[in-house]
């Protein structure tokens, strides 16, 4: 089964101390730079919506958002455009993108180092119910790909994969590691 339209969310550790309104100017700065390989277009502010998408940096091929879904703040990478390659390559691309974004945010001067991301947990989902409805069958088909990817990404670190049990939600897997991982080292290894 071919994976497409991956979402990866990396959770903030200290959401109480973070001034959400500052994500807007930070993301506008990313648009000014256009330093990545994805065309960035605009910023949408949904802070007025509880547990919503928060502040979204809209891109042409992918969005980045400081997302509040489930009342858990985190950076979500949402790949919209189709990607070629194997499932492993697509998982790598999405994880690499979210890690780059997380490191950039952690070091953003405007955020004064107050934002830190979790080193133990990531959430992967497939944002397309057509190709991946949230069923046990899909999990059975994809489990091997996920296991193989995570065992390479987190060598020597025990991982726990918890599929999202709600059939109305998108197909998703929460990944928790036994020991904290280093964001930079993980990015470099991908």
């Amino acid at each position: 089964m071919e994976i497409q339209h991956l979402n990866v969310k990396i959770f903030a550790e200290n959401s109480e101390g973070v001034d959400r309104e500052k994500f807007t100017p930070v993301f506008h700065g990313w648009i000014q730079d256009q330093s990545g390989d994805e065309l960035l277009l605009d910023v949408a502010d949904y802070l007025h919506v509880p547990a919503g998408p928060g502040i979204v940096l809209i891109g042409e091929a992918a969005d980045y958002g400081m997302d509040e879904t489930g009342h858990r703040l985190g950076l979500r990478y949402n790949r919209k455009a189709k990607l070629e390659g194997s499932n492993n390559e697509k998982l790598t691309q999405a994880l690499r993108s979210v890690l780059k974004g997380a490191l950039k945010l952690e070091s953003a001067p405007l955020l004064e180092g107050k934002l830190k991301f979790s080193r133990r947990e990531l959430e992967f989902s497939i944002n397309d119910r057509g190709i991946a409805p949230n069923t046990p069958g899909v999990w059975a088909e994809l489990r091997g790909d996920f296991e193989s990817f995570f065992s390479k990404a987190f060598p020597g670190n025990a991982i726990k994969m918890i599929p999202n049990p709600d059939p109305r939600q998108r197909f998703g897997v929460s990944v928790q590691t036994e020991r904290p991982f280093d964001l930079e080292a993980l990015l470099a290894s991908l």
Binding site: I31, I58, E60, I131
Partner: protein, 755 residues
Amino acid sequence: MKTSHDLWKSLLGKKIPADWGREIDIFETEIQLRKQGKLDEKLFAETRLRRGAYGQRYDNGQRHDGTKVQQLKFPSGELTKGPMTFCDAPGMQRIKIPIWGMNAEQLETMAELAEEYSDGIAHVTTRQDFQLHFIHIDDTPALMRRLAASGITTREACGNSVRNITACPYAGVCPDEAFDVSPYGRALTKFLLGHPDCQDFGRKFKPAFSGCKQHACGLTNIHDVGAIAVGKEENGQLRLGFEYVVGGGLGAVPFQAKTFEIFMAPEELLPTTQAIARVFARLGEKKNRNRARLKFLIKDLGLEKFQELVREERKILPYDPRWTSLIEDELRNEEKPLRAGGECPAGGSEEFQAWAKTNTRDQKQAGYTVVTVTLPLGDITPDQLRAMADLARKYTHETVRTTVEQNLVIRWVSKKDLPALYQELKAADLAQGGAGHIFDVVACPGTDTCKLGISSSRGLAGELRKRLSEQAFRLDQAVQNLHIKVSGCFNSCGQHHVADMGFYGISRKAGNYTMPHFQVLLGGQWENNGGSYGLPIVAIPSKNIPTVVERLTGRFAAEREKGESFQDFYRRLGKVATKTMLEDLIKIPDHDSKPEYYSDWGDPREYTIGDIGTGECAGEVVSLTEFELAAAEREYFEAQVLYEQGDVQKSGERAFRSMLTAARALVKTEFLDVPNDADSIVAEFRARLYDTQKFWDPFAGGKFGQMLFLAQEKSQDPYHAESAHHLLEEAQLFIDAAHSSYNKMAAQAAAPKAS
């Protein structure tokens, strides 16, 4: 953009009504034709608008990033989906939510679409639609199929068409209504959707219904046509009917609707509206979009002349049994409660009591209430939509409707269930109180996503909402009940004319800089279906608007006489005194001392008006003939595809159909009601265009017309590879000749008449 489009087509094929499925297939083909350069960008723009696929800010490939203008290099290069609108630029999808509201499955579908195709938010508009933003054009057919499978069409959600036909969301349950307008609204919606008489407008056409004259919920006064439920005594019997109003509208030049008929019998509702549509299509302005709404036609003709023309048209309308059958059918579809009614248990938390005070409204049916779910700025998340679906199933027969105040209502809630429902809403972050309260501020998308936005209407609305909700119930009761509405420009999508305090975005030059401003309007009336329009008082820098609100409400609370309304108070105070109290807020601070004044609410970029694009609200005027000729081209393309796939029989049939469509397009320039069967089309074509030599080539004479006649003669024979191929060639020649013929007719019509 998504990879699952074909999957949805095969998965949902059987769930989609055949005609809707066919329309979406056609639209998908049109996208392909546009990509191949076989469909003109202007024509494609109006086509997609009529399917609700709208442009969005920056889709012209330019965006000021706060320091410089960036050229946005979309992957599809120069390919456009409309004039100055790049194909890969994200756009907005408007989704009509008709009078019957939404059931649980539709709410769940909306949740999925917002998640998978948009940015995780579904937005309720001031015309009771939903909108999804940042949608790729390639995703629209799949999105439309998923909606269609749940019973929603996006057909005619934008463009020069009959827009969403709206009604008071309390229709059928409001204690003050004359009768339930819902069945009539549903009948008119079904009747006008895709109606041939509504395809050649110069501009949009918006109908609305209200169950009473005094409340605001239907806003009939601001609509092109409005039907207000009334009853009258006749021979000791109560007769129900409509006060029918026409020519209302907001926009840059707002008009109050005028009474067309004081009492219209229900059976006249559909034919009269049809007659109006025909008069509007025939006589309405087509060249100047700024004067193309029905209100201008009525102004130019005068109401009496307009009435006369409509009545004449009504007399000659071919009889249509649906005028009454649709209403009869709909009268049988009565909403019913799921659970037994009762009384709300006494007590409950203070929080619950406060919420119940503003967010519930007794129905005329004892024991039941309508619950308003307040959505900040009209926004709702996918998880919240799913929670709404669960509640709609659990407590009602899935009776959820949208409101003009950008909220949702759940009808038929037993009062006994209110405490439990409140707890469940709270768990879903949907139990915000203050529905219709001053902090329930309404705003159009403005500079967030609209190409025409001048100032940040949502940014300002969000700021006002935040500040006013902090004071919430400490405010004077008379102030709590006021309405604030914000538009990003003068086009009034935020309905700023019918608010106690209305604001619309403008800009002002300050030295070398530009500063966002809002024009302040006072005197608008929300009640009486938008009974009067506010007038501009003064332009104020955006960042000073919260202070304007504070001063206006503060003075009103402090100095008003007993029972005096906000409108009456400021009328008594007078414009001069009102302006004087805001005088210091008009002053523009210099850039160096107050740089924050030079950026807009929620947007840290240095303010510019350079991002404003060309509006697509109604696209450009494309004639009915051009549309039909495009349809013929598309059918011809489908015939080619079928031929390539080896289905020669269907290919031949489709090629012949494309010739008929082109012929009918030309016939319609003279005879709008031409029946759609082959014999009628060919007979009318022969009499009106062939025999008169209007369809005549300067070199080939009647050759191309004869191709149609021959194709008809042979249309009952089976097609084989050679005959289908031959017909494909002839069909293309015939369609080309139809284009030439139409161009010739249009040139003749435009030529100055010899005196």
